[in-house]
Subunit: 176 residues, 2 copies
DNA sequence: TCCCTAATGCGACGGATGTTGCGTTAAGAT
DNA sequence: ATCTTAACGCAACATCCGTCGCATTAGGGA
């Protein structure tokens, strides 16, 4: 039943976008009663938070491609894909995070987890001797990924994969 | 009267934040009737868009500090100040941009204008011979400012002015 | 001064969103 | 098989947000 509801959320999201996402529509599509949705998920943000949680991969690790630069490019391609997907659950949760504290917290927890895991690419680079041991992993990942979020989410303009790659290269170069 | 209303919006924003910003509260505080607010500004987003427009400085230009790196640092300090102000009108409009198309468009127009003006720092750097003439100004500004938006708006974590400066330096170094 | 028009104030209304009380169903334990 | 408990379905209700019709006021021109 949870799966039915989350599938309905995703479908509604694809059809009407975040601002058109309503409890009633999810109830109608999933066949689950309105009241049940309100009780178990509280509101639209709760549904999206759960959708994010359902999609979270507990075993996720950044790909090991042999160098810091290409590792960062791989990360950026994943971010790029997540933000340009249709529908983009990440974009929807970002939107929800401006409406409820729960969504905001879920998002910051999700990203904190992702950044922590992704720091592995920096440790590997240190082990390879590519960069110094005291490199600030968070700052490095921010340099690489932030331009994608800004351009795609806030500026609402397209970004090619080549541009995403380029920002990964700039980030890698910033610690050489 | 417009000034009364916008002042009330700013005050309410400071007290209750964006999600606590309601037409009724603005009406009560400003002494203007609900219906009038709905008619002239349509909704909360409209009020914020107008507040952004009222604060926009038509004569704004990036400071000329003598070098690309310090120019970018000056830009980043302005962005940093705008995002950490209490209340931050920019943050409020960003939040609103996820709810109405009008706010989203107003925001992209605002930023398009700002990026265009800020490109002056790149032209000056070209004139000084600091960088090549074919530098992508947008990409450069994205590298400099995006980490601030991502950290302060999306990750919702603090950023020191030193860190903001550092991202300006990284951006400047990326075109040397 | 008088009139015309546009903007504002005001109360009432409609619709959507979220809540509550109660009956029903499903699952697990003994 | 029966009992217990928790979750769900259902309909009615409450609340909030936005709209509408109408009266009033302010401003500008003949």
């Amino acid at each position: 039943m949870r799966a039915d509801v989350l599938a309905a959320v995703e479908a509604e999201l694809a059809e009407h976008g975040y601002d058109g996402l309503t409890i009633d529509a999810v109830a109608a599509r999933s066949g689950v009663h309105r009241t049940t949705l309100y009780r178990r998920w509280k509101d639209v943000s709760g549904l999206l938070v759960d959708l994010l949680a359902a999609g979270a991969d507990d075993a996720w690790e950044p790909a090991d491609t042999g160098s810091l630069e290409t590792d960062l490019m791989a990360v950026n391609r994943e971010v790029h894909a997540a933000l340009t997907a249709r529908p983009s659950i990440t974009q929807a949760v970002i939107a929800a995070s401006f409406r409820t504290a729960e969504a905001a917290e879920a998002l910051t927890r999700f990203w904190a987890d992702r950044y922590e895991r992704t720091a592995l690419v920096v440790r590997r680079a240190v082990d390879r001797g590519e960069v110094a041991a005291d490199v600030d992993a968070h700052r490095l990942l921010l340099t690489a990924t932030a331009p994608l979020y800004h351009q795609l989410v806030l500026l609402r303009q397209p970004m090619t994969r080549d541009e995403a790659d380029q920002h990964a290269r700039i980030a890698a170069a910033s610690v050489r």
